[in-house]
């Protein structure tokens, strides 16, 4: 989606505020913004308000829709209720209850460089479902138009018919199958039939639990065990939906797969679970996007993603995380606690994580690779941008267990405003992981003197035929580069965006095409208001 259409949409929403998807305009926030701005003569207030409401976050609207909530809080009954709503078999309910039991014995972790607020885990809704989804729609045609509209406005096409007809699709355009998750449920998955022809299973995880129990039972929790960490354990107990992907042996998935997560309901946590299985010799590229409405009260998001790569399989997982980051004063936003891990089980398997983290008030996320198979490869490319009061503690773990394994880490952290941005990573070479290699490059960029950028790498080398190299730098935006841009008439904010995009280039270029364009724009948008 281009920035122009997004702005167009926002303006339209402003004009007709009574329409269903209402753009939230919070007068209090606007007032403060106005005071902060020096309004020149001749600029009317409406313009200022419109500009302010555009803000940095373009996806802050809310969909007015009837929503069913499970009672607030979490306990074994809620766990059973979620399981029941998903029509799950008994083994799944038991699995969840066991995880819940473990969770009650665990404590929140405090080792991250995050100023964690007290989260009342009983003051949340753990299940919220659009009322129209009570009866699972059989096809996308039956889905509530308001829901489809929401995704349309987010730039996520859920209409496969037109595209399938081939009328509007220019030659060579890449197609992407989408699983759309709205609050606690999956509202629809596109291109299922076409994917099925190739033998690819792409559906919501709740469906997979019912339809493909043998695969789910074999793989669920095999990479991130239910007792892994506080947030993953909570997720194991209460996850409501998510995506399931199975690529059979030797199949190259005919199109990119993606999941789009949208949080809409208030005071509701989203707990989704993604399970991707790439069988021997298969390939899949998977994209993940996420947004949420602007709200004053922070919301919890605790996801788990498990990837299994068998022999010679390759998985690319790309995320553009754009949850609502909170307002300029640090109110609201998503608390994002995510456990993502890939198990490169088979020899010569390969997993690539790419993430662009621009949203969330708090990000706690370490997509990792267990390089178990000989000659397996793990890659991690990350851009994490924090502005205003955002906090991010993110990085990766590369655990080398197999011989001749390779890993590469490129992390770019950008901190502006009063934000804190931490890279935290582990590279571990086990004694048997002989002849393995790791290269790590962590660069941090600071914009302004009130923010922080930190690097916390752990390096453990337990054999001598492996080679580990780690480099990290921290600096400010290069004055010479800025001056060059400015002297050629580029505006200050644009110049910063340009320099920052250059700084992130190594990561941007490994993103799939659609995401690259979006990510470049996000980089610019996320830094709006950080200079001058």
């Amino acid at each position: 989606m281009t920035r122009d259409t997004m702005e167009g949409f926002t303006m339209a929403a402003l004009d007709s505020r009574t329409e269903a998807p209402v753009m939230e305009v919070r007068p209090d926030v606007l007032d403060e913004r106005e005071n902060a701005l020096e309004v020149r003569e001749g600029v009317d207030e409406a313009t200022v308000a419109a500009v302010a409401s555009l803000g940095a976050y373009k996806y802050g609207f809310q969909t007015d829709i009837e929503t069913e909530y499970a009672p607030k809080g979490v306990n074994p009954d809620i766990v059973r209720l979620i399981s029941e709503k998903n029509n799950e078999p008994q083994w799944m309910t038991d699995w969840r209850l066991k995880a819940f039991e473990r969770w009650t014995q665990m404590e929140e972790v405090d080792w991250a460089m995050l100023d964690l607020p007290d989260i009342d885990f009983q003051d949340q809704y753990y299940y919220a479902r659009p009322k129209s989804m009570a009866m699972k729609p059989k096809s996308l045609d039956e889905v509530d138009p308001k829901l489809l509209d929401t995704y349309k406005k987010l730039g996520i096409p859920l209409k496969e018919q037109e595209i399938l007809a081939g009328v509007e699709r220019p030659e060579g355009e890449r197609r992407v199958a989408v699983d759309a998750v709205f609050d606690s449920v999956s509202v629809g998955t596109t291109f299922k039939a076409e994917l099925a022809k190739a033998g690819v299973i792409f559906c919501s995880i709740s469906e997979a639990i019912r339809e493909h129990p043998e695969l789910v039972r074999k793989y669920l929790g095999s990479v991130v065990p239910p007792s892994d960490n506080f947030y993953a354990t909570l997720n194991s107990a209460v996850f409501s939906d998510g995506s399931f992907v199975y690529i059979p042996p030797g199949v190259r998935c005919p199109m990119e797969l993606s999941t789009y997560f949208r949080i809409n309901a208030e005071n509701t946590g989203q707990f989704e679970r993604t399970l991707i299985i790439a069988d021997k010799g298969s390939y899949v590229s998977y994209l993940e996007g996420c947004t949420a409405p602007k709200r004053d009260v922070a919301q919890l998001h605790a996801a788990v993603v498990e990837i299994i790569a068998e022999e010679d399989a390759e998985v690319k997982y790309s995320t553009v995380q754009n949850w609502f980051p909170g307002d300029a004063d640090g109110r609201g936003g998503i608390y994002n606690f995510v456990t993502k891990r890939a198990d490169c089980r088979g020899d010569r398997s390969k997993v690539q994580w790419t993430q662009v983290e621009t949203g969330s008030a708090i990000t706690w996320k370490y997509p990792s690779c267990i390089l178990r198979g000989n000659e397996s490869q793990g890659e991690f490319y990350s851009i994490a941008i924090t502005n205003n009061h955002q906090q991010a503690d993110t990085g990766t773990k590369m655990i080398h267990l197999g011989k001749n394994t390779r890993s590469r880490i490129v992390s770019k952290g950008i901190s502006a405003g009063q934000a804190q941005n931490t890279y935290r990573g582990l590279v571990s070479m086990h004694p048997k992981a002989t002849n393995s290699r790791n290269y790590t490059q962590c660069d941090s960029l600071l914009i302004g003197d009130k923010c922080g950028a930190h690097t916390v790498p752990y390096i453990e080398v337990r054999n001598n035929s492996s080679r580990v190299e780690h480099e990290a730098t921290t600096s400010k935006v290069d004055e010479d580069q800025l001056f060059y841009c400015r002297s050629r008439g580029v505006g200050e904010e644009e110049a910063v965006a340009l320099v920052v995009n250059g700084f992130c280039k190594e990561v941007l270029q490994v993103l799939p095409m659609e995401f690259m364009v979006e990510a470049q724009q996000l980089v610019a948008i996320s830094l709006e208001g950080s200079v001058g």
Binding site: D449, I459, N464, S465, E469, E471, A472, T474
Partner: protein
């Protein structure tokens, strides 16, 4: 469940260690410092295996009530730094040996034993003894240093008022298999003063040492030490330094052998334009475990800090590096550099590192690099193809690897002395 068990374990370890110690008698100034330190130890508790700051090094033998016996080694290499004519102060198993020590008066230099100074009610060291250690307890606790402040039996208090050319050399001798030495030194450099402090020797079966250094505006402090070759010894040392404007602090440590060495350096750059270089080379084999833990805080503008640590590990030896550069808000124009490298000479040796940056100012230049791996095969091939025997080629490349750290020593004579000792160590392992 285990979370509940841990605080008890910490309390038990702390209580049983403290039970075997008595607070030394002393004058009013020292009593207060010792009392404060004891309170810190009791509040913090001694380090545990599961503490994040002890992730790579097991502190059990350092906190046990009694030291693990360690046989002294007959060092046949002759005394270190013999050529520079330093003023020698000798400690045997942590006890001062006046006969073996020099007592010459040197202009600009005041030296006093801690146990002598302790009898007085007032002392110039009052504002320093235990003070820099206490400041160094945040943001990371260093309970072994607080234990030292409370119970140190002796040490030297050095005040430098001018430019002192003659180095001061503290010589440690390890004589008894069961010695458990706690020494605490204080060095105060007045504005513009200059001193080179040398240290050598293995000190004791178990050695806990704290050195507090105040480097006032424009003062220069050079520190070079070598930690002796005793294989079974254990040591936990701390250097706490506060650096004033335009001050210059350089510290280099060479470590041979030792089943456990933890060297912590805590530097606080409080004046603009200060320079702090801290470097080290460590070589060991077998059950050698060496841990360099460095924490540099930039609290002023335009300061430069540099860390260079190199380790050569063989036959299953372990090297640890935990280095941190903290740049406080407002510490603009900071130049921070950190390098940690390990050469693993066999497949069982390991290198564990955590090189950290924590930065709250934007106009800074900070970087770190860390590498671990075997000898460069191309370089080996080159030397072999030119007729250099394999062992010679290995030693040559190993020395070349360590040389980068030795270059951090400003005084050529000292660097050469240490270089010769390194060659000796390597040649004995052929």
């Amino acid at each position: 469940m285990s979370r509940l068990a841990r605080p008890n374990l910490r309390a038990e370890t702390t209580a049983s260690r403290l039970a075997g110690l008595t607070l030394p008698q002393g004058g009013a100034w020292l009593r207060a410092a010792r009392g404060g330190a004891l309170a810190r130890v009791e509040a913090l508790g001694l380090p545990q295996r599961r503490d994040e700051y002890w992730r790579f090094t097991d502190p059990t033998t350092l906190t046990a009530p009694d030291p693990t016996p360690a046989a002294p080694m007959n060092d046949d290499e002759g005394p270190a730094f013999a050529e520079v004519g330093a003023l020698r102060l000798v400690f045997v198993d942590g006890r001062f040996d006046p006969q073996a020590s020099d007592a010459d008066a040197v202009e600009g230099l005041e030296i006093e034993r801690l146990s002598d100074a302790a009898t007085r009610d007032l002392h110039w060291a009052q504002g320093l003894y235990g003070t820099l250690e206490a400041e160094g307890q945040k943001p990371v606790a260093r309970p072994l240093a607080a234990l030292n402040t409370a119970f140190a039996g002796d040490g030297v208090l050095i005040r430098v008022t001018g430019v002192v050319e003659r180095p001061v050399h503290i010589v440690y001798r390890h004589d008894s298999t069961t010695s458990d030495a706690i020494l605490h030194h204080v060095v105060k450099l007045e504005p513009g003063a200059r001193l080179t402090l040398l240290e050598s020797g293995p000190a004791a079966a178990r050695f806990n040492k704290v050195t507090e250094v105040e480097v006032a505006d424009g003062a220069t402090f050079h520190h070079v030490r070598t930690q002796g070759r005793d294989r079974e010894r254990r040591a936990a040392t701390h250097i706490f330094a506060r650096l004033g404007e335009r001050s210059d602090f350089r510290s280099f440590t060479l470590t041979f052998n030792g089943v456990l060495t933890r060297n912590e350096v805590v530097l606080n750059l409080t004046g603009d334009d200060a320079i702090a270089h801290v470097a080290g080379a460590a070589v060991g084999d077998g059950d050698f475990h060496h841990d360099d833990t460095v924490f540099v805080t930039h609290g002023a503008e335009s300061c430069e800090s540099r860390q260079v640590f190199k380790k050569v590990l063989r036959n299953g030896a372990t090297g640890v590096f935990q280095g941190k550069i903290l740049v406080k808000p407002g510490a603009q124009k900071t130049d921070g550099y950190q390098l940690s490298q390990a050469l693993l000479l066999d497949e069982r040796s390991q290198f564990l590192a955590k090189p950290e940056l924590e930065i709250y100012a934007d106009d800074v230049k900070c970087s770190h690099g860390s590498t671990a791996g075997a000898l460069d095969e191309t370089a080996m091939f080159y030397l072999r193809s030119r007729g250099v025997p394999e062992r010679d080629a290995k030693d040559l490349l190993t020395l070349a690897f360590l040389q980068e750290a030795l270059q951090e020593i400003a005084d050529e004579r000292l660097a050469q002395d240490l270089s010769r000792r390194l060659e000796g160590w390597l040649s004995r392992r052929r």
